[in-house]
Point group: C2
Chain length 124, copies 2
């Protein structure tokens, strides 16, 4: 997400839903093409900007940068800058975000299961 027009019906609706309940709030933070992937990679290991680009082949500089910035603002990840040249920046999960992982495990099981059901239905 870039800039939003805060008076648009679209944004008004989004904000309304975001405040409705915790689930919607969470999903709002996680929406964004590469955010889940970024978090997934970070759950294995802290990563630098260029490392992300290597392990997420199709992501562009711009999207990576945008997403990282938003996720930092949203308290999902932390940014650590080392005083080196050339610059070194490392990203890591926040403690709160680590707690999401066990939930994802269940979501993963559900997703794979549902996908199988869907594929069987389509074949008929």
């Amino acid at each position: 997400m870039g800039k939003r027009k805060i008076t648009s019906t679209n944004t008004v609706n989004r904000d309304y839903l975001k405040n409705e309940c915790g689930t919607m709030y969470a999903l709002t933070l996680l929406a964004g093409r590469w955010k889940m992937t970024i978090l997934h990679k970070l759950s294995k290991k802290d990563l630098r900007f260029t490392e992300f680009k290597l392990c997420i082949p199709n992501i562009s500089d711009r999207m990576l940068s945008l997403h990282l910035k938003e996720m930092e603002k949203d308290g999902l990840i932390e940014r650590k800058l080392y005083a080196e040249v050339p610059p070194k920046v490392e990203y890591k999960l926040t403690p709160s975000t680590r707690k999401l992982i066990s939930i994802w495990d269940r979501m993963n099981v559900w997703g794979n299961n549902h996908r199988e059901i869907q594929e069987n239905n389509v074949q008929r």
Copy 2:
């Protein structure tokens, strides 16, 4: 989502991610402004088209219709048409979707917790 240009980088990336893991697949199905709300309402009670419009005040006919159609295709809900005039249609969750609800409970707890952390940070 309406029609997609299947050759666009955007769609190629999306499809790639959708096949990556169950979590991403699940989130792809649930993305869409009102989908979670629709499912949440259905978790309480089966609903007709006009009933949705009453309990989700800001939703437009078009978005409701689009979402319902996609969710049916995705196996998230079922559509039951009664042979009456004027027409009567009832929507309900599929058994698979019901299993999501306990996961949402945890997501809800996480979301509310995370929101609190965030609000405290902003106040500093």
